[in-house]
């Protein structure tokens, strides 16, 4: 490992996580006039929202807002973006933190023109994490079309293979650097905003819901990728077992959430997400039957309620209050039967559908990996904000389950808290 020292940047802010919250904190602080370091562990910015097909309730593509944000980054010399970067160590006190950032190799340097010749040459295919393993991509890849930075990545999986050499040989621009090594950067910042985000709850932990056992049970995030024009199926919603266009789909709400055995809290977004995904299905299959099994439909506030109103008008969408107790697969058809008790009528429902979407909840990334800093967490792993001490703040879903609207609101506020630490040093 090499150690690289950069000029100290006191009076600057470190934002950890380049998802929508981190982007917002970064941009809002930098446009006030502060220097911001934005680090992101993935090779691209955008985080979870980059994987989404559309936002609720407007049904607009997240790349629209992301692209504007990327342009704001491009136009702002006060922002320094580092991808494939993670915090290794934080020392110091509010107003004066020394941080060590570990940057993993991308194996592609700034000479990359995005021509795609490396991907063309690469023969190995790897699972696309971005698409939850639903497709294979080349070992040299661009994370997605509008990715920022617009630069290819060579997967560490192919490093040391002939394929890596093929990529290098194919590059006319000397952009492939197979000797790139991890490095640690040290710098000084005045405040830190942790926007480390969330990950979908591992649905395979919920035995009764059959994820990982039956191919036609997918998660809501997988559904986003299926519906996305740049996804594994180019936007076609087809069921995994046989690529059939489903004529019936069930959405299982609170798959993990509001359940003491899994996630005791409400994950905030899943009700609206499933209703939104019902529109994905409807747009493609005007006759498909859609069943939504819920405990409560949490579509609070004027804008969300109005969206729910439009869903209710659809005669082929059936909203059933009842928690799904179990699922089973018909081995011949691969259809899934969902069993639930209608909470109002008490009647037991056996609904057979061709495909099931589990509305899995959100879990903070800090549940599984605690951050190398003096932070406090609640029982669920969300970072607790200590405004009295200041200096370090959690924004967006690192702090609590939230939708994009609330995350952006919160992230804007945290930008100010970070600035206050600098001002009042």
């Amino acid at each position: 490992m090499t150690e690289e020292k950069t000029a100290s940047a006191s009076g600057s802010i470190l934002v950890v996580g380049g998802g929508i919250s981190g982007l917002t904190t970064t941009l809002e602080a930098a446009e006030v006039g502060y220097e911001v370091f934005l680090i992101e562990k993935n090779p691209y910015l955008g985080g979870r929202v980059a994987q989404l097909n559309q936002y609720f309730p407007k049904l607009c593509p997240p790349t629209c807002g992301l692209e504007i944000n990327f342009r704001r980054i491009k136009d702002n010399p006060r922002i320094h973006v580092m991808t494939l970067a993670e915090v290794e160590k934080v020392e110091g006190t509010p107003g004066n933190y020394n941080v060590a950032i570990k940057v993993s190799p991308r194996y592609v340097n700034e000479n990359c023109t995005c021509c795609g010749d490396c991907a063309e040459a690469c023969q190995t295919e790897i699972e696309s994490e971005f698409d939850f393993g639903m497709q294979k991509i080349k070992g040299a890849y661009l994370p997605f079309g509008m990715a920022f930075p617009a630069r290819f990545v060579i997967s560490s999986d192919i490093i040391g293979t002939e394929d890596a050499q093929r990529c290098k040989d194919a590059c006319k621009y000397d952009a492939v650097d197979l000797d790139m090594a991890p490095k640690t950067l040290n710098f000084n910042v005045g405040s830190i905003v942790w926007a480390t985000g969330w990950e979908p709850y591992d649905a395979s932990k919920i035995d009764s819901l059959g994820f990982g056992q039956h191919p036609n049970i997918i998660t809501n995030m997988m559904m986003e990728r299926l519906a996305a024009p740049n996804g594994p199926t180019k936007g076609k919603i087809i069921r995994p077992s046989d690529d059939k266009e489903p004529e019936s789909i069930a959405f299982v709400q609170c798959a993990g959430s509001r359940d003491e055995n899994y996630l005791p809290y409400c994950s905030y977004i899943c009700c609206m997400a499933s209703l939104k995904q019902a529109t994905y299905v409807r747009e493609r299959y005007p006759e498909a039957k859609i069943y939504v099994f819920y405990i409560d439909l949490r579509t609070p506030g004027y804008r969300y309620e109005r969206f729910y109103e439009t869903i209710k008008e659809d005669e082929n969408i059936f909203l059933i209050k009842g928690k799904v107790a179990e699922v089973s697969e018909d081995p011949s058809t691969k259809n899934i039967t969902v069993v639930a008790e209608n909470a109002v009528t008490g009647e037991k429902i056996h609904q057979t559908v061709e495909m099931v979407v589990l509305a899995t909840g959100m879990q903070p990334t800090t549940t599984t990996a605690k951050l190398p800093a003096d932070l406090k967490y609640n029982e669920d792993g969300f970072i607790l904000n200590d405004f009295d001490t200041g200096g370090m703040f959690a924004a967006g879903c690192a702090n609590k389950p939230a939708d994009v609207v609330s995350s952006n609101q919160n992230a804007t506020g945290m930008a100010l808290k970070a600035i206050q630490t600098l001002v009042n040093r």
């Binding site: 504007i68 621009y173 949490r298 804008r303 669920d380 992230a411 804007t412 001002v423």
Partner: protein, 778 residues
């Protein structure tokens, strides 16, 4: 600026293989532009070449024919230089591969009838880039003559107080105006407050008094109670604000625009500017015009609108089935909070203890909708008030009938805690009626979890009515703007004030005014404080941006401002009316008065001006028109079967990036189309379309964002305004004996790159069917 030009053509990424670079170099040579080629322009050698020419040769105006301006933006940024990026890669060779559009063979090179589509396209784009740089200049920051950093907070409730504290903590001076005689707002009127921090499981005592105390520690915060804003005039960094006592009438009360029906004479003819102004002054008798600034007004730089909410007031008979208005013991959640704050919960009818209280979350009647203007807050409040019943009476019982318990996120913990209370019964259910039963009440509900039909005896019934943003009744912010005192078109959001609520939640259609708290949606105290912090940041950011002379979101950092050539202005007022941000006022003669610090630089004014007198230094009627003129239009004099030429005016925010992705994915579309990026479709001036048709182009289309209620336009109204203009152009075309179908507008979202080739090809096919523009060759 004395321009010294340089054209640089990159041969990398397949450009060199796909194009005849030597022939391409003839284009700049013909116009005496120095031209150089480079195998890889973005390489170290390439950039060195550029830097060397800038340093040694004094080149300051560069046309870089390479890849899209969206990539390698930092590599090709040269301070003090004009740089135009001609997109040969994504828009030409990637989307028009030689496999589809073969290069000429050796024999074909001499064949005059052979059409090399790709080469022609590259040559056109290069010509267009060269034409543009001749007509643009470098912008300089716009500085206000006087600049004020103070922040005005309207509303002294929890949001306003928090916003003031947060801004003061950051070192800014703040004034809070509050119409009541004391600070505190709604949050002061409660017995208890919802949990606002982890573990979110139990009620807390109201925190607003602590906040008021904290506020008093800041000498930089001025509090003005029993005060409202009469008007706010001017622009960010230099607002002049007049305050007054509530109810007082002053000459600086904000004037209101004339209703549409008053803008015409008795024959229905539109009045001229001066007559309109006279009528406007008459309509606003006793008030000064917006352009008369209050000499005693106070100066502010930015405004936070935290005017909050009022309880929803049911209309007469609105909830008759629930007994509201008929039965004294059927009250709203707001009313019961008032009772609870004063002591034990009792019945309004006779003051007797209310030991059995039913809370109704949804008005029912075959609908599972909550009451209007409710949200997660109303669910939480019902639980809170149910708890009051239990606090007051050990044998008290609370029944909550809901359709959906909306305790989102971590507030679920509070719901779970309430569920543990043996005296609180929570059930889904539709309340069908509330009726009198002796001196008590009977509540009937169906489809409940406790039984198909149930009856509950109650002392008191509480309706979970919502929180109405006060901007529903009154603009509050009272902007002395020609477009009017409030936020425009807010009715599509039911008067909640924000314009891009998902991605950019604090933005409103008025620069320098940031809405916070329940004026944007119903919020808890915790959310309001968080929201106030964000709004404080936005206000500070606006101040600092104005001070640096740059635009705020979405063209953050843009230094250009619209420049008006007033001598040719015909006082048509269109720019004043169409600006999505109300940045332009006009005087009594109808002459526009731009307010540059209010401007977001979308160019809508430039697009709507019939006299074409509004321009930006780097984006103008002339710069775009010259690009259009630079497009080669082959005619029958050139070829037996000349190709069509179609102009695409594309929104640079969404459509242009989408076209790049078309190229990246090597999707192809007609090579007969030429694109010109525009800041927003709202900036498209119809003269460009007319020029194009007069020049013999066969068709024109606009490619931009979706409009309507769920608009995706970053400037709110741009694509909608363009659509109106395009529809009107039909008559002009008809007068030229041209089919109006030759001009069209298409809506695309940024991710619909897969659909764009089809849209383009379908349009080209429709033009092919119509045949070439008869003006071709004239």
């Amino acid at each position: 600026m004395d321009k010294k030009y340089g054209v640089y053509i990159c041969e990398g990424c397949g450009i060199g293989e796909a194009l005849d670079i030597e022939k391409l170099c003839d284009v700049p040579k013909e116009d005496s532009f120095p031209v150089k080629t480079c195998p890889i322009l973005c390489s170290q050698e390439g950039v060195e070449l550029l830097k060397k020419d800038i340093a040694d040769e004094g080149v300051n105006t560069l046309v870089l024919a390479a890849c899209s301006r969206r990539v390698l933006y930092d590599v090709f940024r040269f301070d003090g230089c004009i740089v135009d990026r001609v997109n040969l890669r994504e828009q030409v060779i990637w989307s028009h591969p030689r496999s589809t559009y073969p290069a000429p063979t050796e024999e074909q090179k001499d064949d005059e009838e052979f059409i090399d589509h790709v080469q022609m396209m590259a040559e056109d784009y290069l010509k267009m880039g060269m034409a543009r740089v001749q007509r643009v200049d470098l912008p300089e920051p716009y500085k206000l003559e006087t600049f004020n950093r103070k922040i005005l907070v309207i509303g002294g409730g929890i949001t306003g107080i928090s916003a003031a504290i947060e801004a003061a903590k950051t070192g800014y001076e703040v004034t809070i105006v509050e119409k009541e005689s004391a600070l505190g707002g709604q949050a002061k009127k409660w017995r208890k407050q919802l949990p606002g921090a982890y573990p979110y499981d139990s009620l807390i005592l109201p925190t607003v008094e602590d906040k008021i105390e904290e506020l008093q520690n800041y000498s930089t915060i001025t509090v003005m109670t029993e005060t409202v804003v009469a008007r706010i005039a001017g622009e960010p960094g230099d607002f002049t604000v007049t305050f007054k006592k509530p109810g007082e009438k002053t000459e600086f009360d904000v004037p209101y625009p004339l209703p549409d029906e008053m803008k015409v004479d008795e024959n229905g003819k539109e009045l001229d500017a001066e007559a309109l102004h006279a009528k406007f002054m008459e309509y606003n008798k006793g008030k000064q015009d917006i352009l008369t600034f209050d000499p005693n007004g106070e100066k502010f730089g930015a405004v936070i609108l935290a005017a909050g909410w009022r309880p929803y007031e049911p209309k007469e008979g609105e909830f008759a089935h629930l007994g509201f208005g008929e039965i004294a013991d059927v009250v709203t959640n707001y009313q019961v909070e008032g009772i609870a704050a004063g002591g034990k919960i009792t019945r309004p009818s006779d003051g007797k203890e209310a030991k059995s209280v039913v809370f109704i979350q949804s008005p029912g009647q075959a609908d599972d909708k909550d009451f209007a203007y409710s949200g997660a807050v109303t669910s939480l409040v019902a639980l809170k008030q149910a708890k009051y019943v239990r606090e007051d009476y050990s044998d008290g019982k609370a029944y909550v009938f809901y359709q959906h318990m909306r305790t989102v996120g971590l507030t679920e913990n509070f719901y779970k805690n309430i569920q543990q209370d043996q005296g609180i019964f929570l059930t889904k259910g539709a309340v069908t009626s509330v009726s009198k039963n002796g001196d008590g009440l009977i509540v009937e509900a169906e489809h409940t979890l406790l039984g198909e039909k149930i009856q509950v005896k109650a002392d008191l019934v509480v309706l979970a009515t919502g929180m109405v943003p006060v901007t529903k009744d009154d603009p509050v912010v009272n902007l002395a703007y020609r477009q009017g005192p409030g936020f425009r078109d807010n009715e599509i959001f039911d008067e909640y004030a924000d314009s891009n609520f998902i991605c950019f939640p604090y933005e409103t259609q008025r620069t320098g005014i940031y809405a916070a708290g329940s004026i944007r949606r119903s919020m808890t105290v915790e959310e309001s404080i968080e929201d106030a912090t964000g709004a404080a940041l936005k206000a500070i950011q606006c101040l600092e941006s104005v001070n640096r002379g740059v635009s705020v979101h979405p063209r953050s950092g843009d230094m250009t401002i619209p420049d008006f050539f007033f001598q040719r202005c015909t006082q048509c007022k269109r720019c004043t009316e169409e600006c999505p941000f109300g940045a332009i006022d006009d005087d009594e003669k109808g002459t526009p008065k731009p307010n540059p610090a209010r401007c977001r630089r979308c160019g809508t004014c430039m697009g709507c001006c019939p006299e074409r007198i509004i321009n930006f230094v780097d984006y103008s009627i002339d710069s775009v028109a010259s690009m259009i003129k630079a497009i080669g239009v082959p005619s029958e004099d050139d070829y037996d079967e000349p190709p069509l030429r179609i102009l695409g005016l594309v929104c640079e925010n969404d459509a242009y990036p989408a076209l790049d992705i078309v190229g990246l994915n090597r999707l192809t579309y007609s090579a007969q189309v030429r694109f010109v990026p525009v800041r927003c479709l709202g900036s498209v001036n119809v003269v460009w379309i007319k020029d194009a048709m007069a020049k013999g182009l066969d068709g024109v289309f606009l490619l931009g964002c979706k409009h309507g209620d769920d608009y995706q336009c970053h400037f709110v109204k741009g694509s909608e305004l363009a659509d109106i203009r395009v529809k009107k152009i039909g008559d002009a075309l008809a007068s030229l004996a041209l089919e109006e179908e030759r001009v069209a507008q298409f809506q695309v979202a940024i991710d619909e790159y897969d659909k764009i080739p089809q849209i383009i090809d379908d349009f080209v096919a429709s033009i092919e069917e119509m045949g070439p523009n008869p003006f071709k060759g004239f």
